[in-house]
């Protein structure tokens, strides 16, 4: 039994101890503990050092709003996480926890020197101090500041965990499983709606878990909760615990992060650590409750100073007394109840300090009955103690004047500055808020999404009010979702704990307020004086005050600090709080792992990768792959020990000398079918199609409306009304979309249909002088001799017994065929051709050899030799334009003055004088001796070694390039400037004799 554990109390398993370590020391907690509650049970309040001043800090809250108790946790290699909130992390066997932001140790921290110099580190300090000399910022000031400040250390190893994601549709999503949320889920589910109830805690109940004495409909709170659990299940409510609603997006899309394994002793094999849910909800009920505010006074951050409601939670839910001698300081009734519970559990309540002059009579009587000393109309002006609070200064306030202090001994100070309705998710929706004078709080006003707010989230206080409000909200949501609703349930609550309070700026003090370390934002170390300084220095809007002081900008997003900051800024400005405004909360509600956002998209499933049917053959035969659009394609096929350059040269040589085989399946394929197919083709492509005979093919060029080249490919006419269009690999989807767009919006009168056939066909290209010899014996039903099946033909036939669509075309300058077979037969065809080609030393080649072979012929690759600013004329492709056609996409633009202007960049060939290979992307100048910056006249688009030519070749876009044939240009590269001669792009077999065999 640990020192501060109360036997038999709380919802922890007293018979199930759980061991863990904190800063290397072993502690024992209980099943159901959080790290924070287990440490508190062992009397440990000091848990970390603060961000800027390195002040000792302890646990302040019992929930996800915790600003101080940030620890690192780990469970074996790679499973290390910084900045885990100790108040949220459930205890598991063997958990390793470490404190952060301290050196050399938590008890003695060198960085605490910052605290001594605190007068220096006020708001805007960095901006003012480290401006000069300017050059020092990047190299000196910023690195030092970054090293000194900060929280946990980033993980350095790859995360071995898996993360999951799912979509969920629900009629009604209830966020928060406290009394309001439970009531809402029940009444909504009774209507027959699909209801999902989520909560970040391990069990339902919310505030009821901290208030077991409450009786609902004559049943004790915790028995009532057990009954609700059964009822919710019977009603088919999907209950999701350990699940935080992190963001509320458009049209009722809510992001949930479910923690699956962080609380488990053992990790199940293959289990994901977290799961991100994308929920589309018909209606949303926000029942997020309210968050307790601290009071702002000197020394309110000392370990042992914590929120009164949280102390009550530690006692009732975890069976942990947070100390032996407590002083309570409050401006709200709620803290009194916690004080009574603690007193009844054996903690001496030395004093209750209430800032109000006349606390509620019934509460005062209860305090008196327990012998608790009462300071009404008092303030707290300081605390003492190095690593733990030892005493507190208490002063009377009369007519605004602070009287003499008395010092009250304590080992914990429980504060309550009232409660802030939690409207973070509502704020994500851009729903508007309204300032409520009586509560000094923002309450939900205009809603922009289909949502309902229930309970303490809209300022209601007391369990009865929250339950009945939840019931109403659940019904309203069900009705709005189109379900039939029944009568209201009326909840009656006995021993309820209603209450009211007042809101303060920083508490009055008899000391110099300018020297008070009265913290507002504990995580970013922002004090009341910082806010006032910001206002003095001219900040008027709360948005500016926030950014100048960093108030509310830590990972807790100011859950504890925003309203206190606002009250002080408003006071300093002499304005009403709503006129000063409120900063907007952003998703995620609590810090969320990158893993949860990435989900399945890591490793092999990082991104969708498309594979052809021949991909596995290539893999088995040692191919090196490269990504091309979404595909992975065989890049080259190195033999053992062969370099890429050697492999590519070998593949090119084999193809030019005998025959090469290439997987061309990734090319986009579109069937254009219908009576108006030819007319459609005439309008889309630059080329004329009317006279193309069935059985013949033509190179097609596609422009955008701007006249620039978008795509190209060989297009076959299968019948009068059917075209087989091929596109580039990367352009397939884009081209189909563009065609559909024109068809549906511009030419709905055309009777023509487009069907994507890319995936239906596997395509194998055979190229080389021996291509026909390899193919011919396998072909049935077609004469593929040069005369019967000339270059640029297409026909359906059988190849190796498979139904095939055979093209004769060439992207290499050699005799070439492309054989299309139904995709399932791709590997069969490939193997048959490899076998048939064995006698001719058939050589598989990859995309790199394909690029070289086409460059030797000057065939362009759209996207490599063009960049979206290249016209057909620029690329030397004017021959592909149907001059007599009345129109085609891009035709009018081709006559624009800037597109016909002389001096446009034109595609030309380049051959270096010294035989060096140029770098793709290299800039080109006419005079290498001109002063810098030099006039760049173009750049290299393609550059390769060429086995066939015996020297490297390049293609380049050069201003007026075709008028400079034979001229020398200069290509400056690091350390050397190459001289290169401008040539035609058709380097190899310019007459095209090799195609006609």
């Amino acid at each position: 039994m640990t020192r501060f554990r109360v036997e038999g109390k709380g919802r922890v398993e007293h018979a199930e101890p759980v061991n863990f370590t904190f800063d290397g020391r072993t502690y024992t907690g209980l099943r159901g503990d959080t790290v924070a509650s287990a440490l508190l049970a062992n009397g440990v309040h000091l848990i970390g050092r603060s961000f800027k001043y390195h002040r000792p800090r302890g646990t302040v809250t019992a929930g996800s709003e915790e600003p101080n108790a940030l620890i690192s946790t780990s469970r074996g290699k790679g499973r290390y996480e910084p900045n885990t909130r100790a108040t949220v992390q459930e205890l598991r066997e063997g958990l390793v926890a470490e404190s952060q932001n301290r050196w050399p140790s938590l008890n003695f921290d060198i960085g605490a020197v910052n605290d001594k110099a605190y007068m220096l580190f006020s708001a805007g300090f960095y901006y003012k101090t480290f401006m000069w000399p300017k050059s020092f910022w990047n190299k000196v000031y910023e690195p030092i500041i970054r090293a000194a400040a900060g929280l946990g250390v980033s993980p350095g190893e790859e995360d071995p965990d898996r993360y999951s994601s799912r979509y969920l549709h629900t009629d009604i999503l209830v966020i928060g499983a406290g009394p309001a949320g439970i009531a809402a889920a029940k009444s909504a589910a009774q209507s027959g709606a699909r209801v999902t109830l989520v909560d970040e805690n391990r069990e339902i109940g919310g505030a009821l878990l901290s208030d077991p004495r409450v009786k609902i409909d004559d049943i004790g709170a915790w028995d009532w909760l057990s009954a609700q659990l059964v009822e919710l299940e019977e009603l088919g409510v999907r209950l999701m615990m350990h699940t935080t609603a992190i963001g509320y997006y458009h049209q009722n899309m809510v992001g949930l992060c479910e923690k699956l394994t962080d609380h488990l002793d053992e990790l199940p094999e293959g289990a994901p650590r977290e799961r991100l849910w994308r929920v589309r909800a018909g209606q949303v009920v926000l029942a997020q409750g309210a968050l307790e505010k601290p009071l702002v006074f000197d020394g309110n951050d000392r370990p042992g100073v914590m929120l009164a409601g949280s102390a009550q939670t530690y006692l009732n839910r975890y069976g942990v007394r947070v100390g032996d001698e407590a002083v309570v300081v409050t401006s709200h009734d709620s803290a009194w109840y916690g004080a009574f519970d603690l007193a009844d559990a054996g903690t001496e309540i030395t004093a209750i300090v209430d800032t109000r002059d006349t606390p509620r009579a019934d509460l005062a009587r209860e305090a008196e009955r327990r012998g608790i000393r009462l300071f009404a109309g008092h303030t707290v002006t300081g605390t003492a103690g190095r690593l733990r609070v030892k005493s507190v200064r208490v002063n009377p306030v009369r007519d605004g004047r602070v009287g003499a202090a008395v010092t009250v001994r304590c080992d914990c100070l429980l504060m309550c500055g009232g409660w802030t309705p939690s409207l973070h998710l509502f704020s994500h929706t851009k729903g508007s808020l309204k300032w409520d004078e009586s509560q000094n709080a923002y309450l939900p006003d205009h809603r922009s999404e289909a949502c309902h707010i229930a309970g303490a989230g809209r300022g209601l206080w007391s369990f009865e009010a929250a339950l009945n409000d939840g019931d109403v909200a659940g019904r309203a949501a069900a009705e709005a979702a189109g379900f039939e609703i029944s009568d209201h349930a009326r909840f009656a609550v006995a021993q309820d704990r209603p209450g009211t309070g007042v809101t303060h700026k920083e508490l009055p003090t008899d000391r110099d307020a300018g020297k008070a370390r009265a913290f507002i934002d504990f995580q970013n170390d922002v004090t009341a004086k910082d806010i006032r300084l910001a206002v003095r220095e001219g900040m008027r809007s709360i948005e500016h005050v926030k950014r100048y002081t960093t108030n509310g900008m830590a990972t807790d997003q100011g859950k504890m600090s925003n309203i206190n900051g606002l009250m002080i800024a408003a006071d300093a400005l002499g304005e009403a709080p709503p006129r000063v405004g409120l900063t907007t909360f952003r998703p995620p509600y609590t810090p969320t792992t990158f893993g949860a956002f990435a989900g399945y998209h890591r490793g092999a499933t990082f991104e969708l990768t498309r594979r052809t049917t021949i991909d596995s053959w290539a893999e088995e035969h040692g191919a090196v792959f490269e990504p091309v659009a979404q595909w992975r394609r065989a890049w080259y096929f190195p033999k053992v020990g062969e370099s890429m350059d050697a492999a590519v040269l070998r593949e090119c040589t084999a193809t030019r000398n005998s025959v090469g085989i290439f997987d061309a399946s990734t090319l986009g394929k579109i069937e254009v079918a219908g009576p108006d197919a030819a007319e459609f083709m005439n309008r889309m492509y630059t080329n004329p199609w009317t006279k193309l005979a069935p059985g013949r093919t033509r190179y097609g060029l596609l422009l955008g409306e701007d006249g620039f080249i978008r795509d190209d490919g060989v297009i076959g006419r299968i019948t009068d009304d059917l075209f087989h269009v091929t596109t580039t690999t990367g352009g397939a989807a884009r081209v189909l979309n563009m065609m559909e767009d024109y068809l549906q919006t511009e030419w709905p009168d055309l009777t023509v249909w487009l069907t994507s056939m890319t995936e239906h066909w596997a395509v194998v290209a055979l190229n080389g002088p021996n291509a026909r010899k390899v193919l011919e014996p396998l072909v049935e039903g077609l004469d593929i001799s040069h005369d019967a099946f000339p270059h640029m033909s297409v026909a359906d036939c059988k190849v190796s017994g498979l139904p095939a669509r055979l093209f004769r075309l060439s992207f290499t300058g050699e005799l070439g065929f492309e054989i299309n077979v139904p995709a399932r037969h791709g590997p069969t065809l490939w193997k048959a051709l490899m076998e048939a080609g064995a006698a001719h030393d058939i050589c598989p080649y990859g995309t790199e050899a394909m690029h070289v072979l086409r460059a030797e012929k000057g065939y362009i690759i759209v996207g490599q030799d063009t960049d979206g600013t290249v016209t057909p004329e620029d690329a030397g492709l004017n021959w592909a334009i149907g001059k007599k056609k009345p129109d085609f996409v891009g035709k009018r633009s081709l006559a624009r003055p800037d597109l016909v202007m002389p001096g446009r960049k034109q595609l030309v060939g380049l051959i270096t004088e010294n035989g060096a290979k140029l770098e793709e992307g290299a800039q080109i100048v006419l005079d290498p001796n001109q002063p810098k910056p030099m006039k760049m006249v173009g750049h290299v688009t393609s550059s390769y070694r060429s086995a066939a030519l015996g020297h490297p070749i390049a293609m380049a876009l050069i201003e007026g390039g075709r008028d400079l044939m034979g001229d020398i240009v200069h290509v400056p590269l690091p350390g050397v400037t190459h001289r290169a001669r401008i040539t035609d792009t058709n380097f190899y077999d310019p007459e095209g004799a090799r195609l006609q065999v």
């Binding site: 549709h169 199940p268 289990a271 399945y600 049917t613 069907t755 994507s756 596997a762």
Partner: protein, 181 residues
């Protein structure tokens, strides 16, 4: 509060079964909607008119994917006859009848967790899909057609090159069922 069971490795096989189906003949049929009825008679098909609905006539299944688009599935042995019927009808009723039998691979997902497995990649509300209906949708950016054949039995037509990615994701989902999470 949450019940968590694990270490039951056979569990996933019971929870969900994923199998690749034997290919059938598949056609993409496009025709102007006002002529669909006449064409369906010529082809001997029943063409539904509501998008997402499926009609069966004999062994042939037709799914309406758009106002002028249908997916037609037939046993392999009917392929040539259907193509012939389309050719014969074309002059009178222009249409496109593309043989896309090899474009997609069909997965059958069945078992109590089949629907959940699909929600790892599909954003639409699968639970609300009527039994006997189908829809074109996306599974983690891969275009698919999802058929709900029964409460817990689905077919998913996946473009062939996307299949390795889709299978890899479904394997990850299956591992979660095996882990009991």
């Amino acid at each position: 509060m949450t019940t968590q069971k694990h270490n039951d490795t056979d569990r996933s096989a019971v929870m969900i079964r994923i199998e690749e189906l034997v290919p059938q003949a598949r056609f993409s049929l496009r025709v102007r909607s006002e002529r669909a009825r006449v064409l369906s008679e010529s082809l001997g098909l029943a063409l539904p008119v509501r998008i997402g609905s499926v009609e069966r006539k004999g062994e042939v299944e037709a799914l309406c994917l758009g106002p002028d688009e249908w997916c037609v599935l037939a046993p392999d042995k009917r392929r040539d006859a259907l193509i012939e019927a389309s050719r014969a009808a074309y002059a009178k009723i222009p249409h496109a009848f593309c043989d896309v039998s090899d474009r997609e691979v069909v997965l059958r997902l069945s078992g109590p967790e089949a629907l959940t497995a699909l929600t790892t990649g599909i954003a639409r509300d699968i639970e609300s899909m009527e039994v006997g209906s189908a829809a074109r949708t996306a599974f983690d950016t891969a275009t698919v057609i999802l058929w709900r054949d029964d409460e817990n039995s689905f077919r998913m037509d996946v473009w062939r090159s996307f299949l390795p990615h889709v299978r890899a994701l479904l394997d990850l989902a299956q591992a979660e069922f095996a882990a009991g999470l």
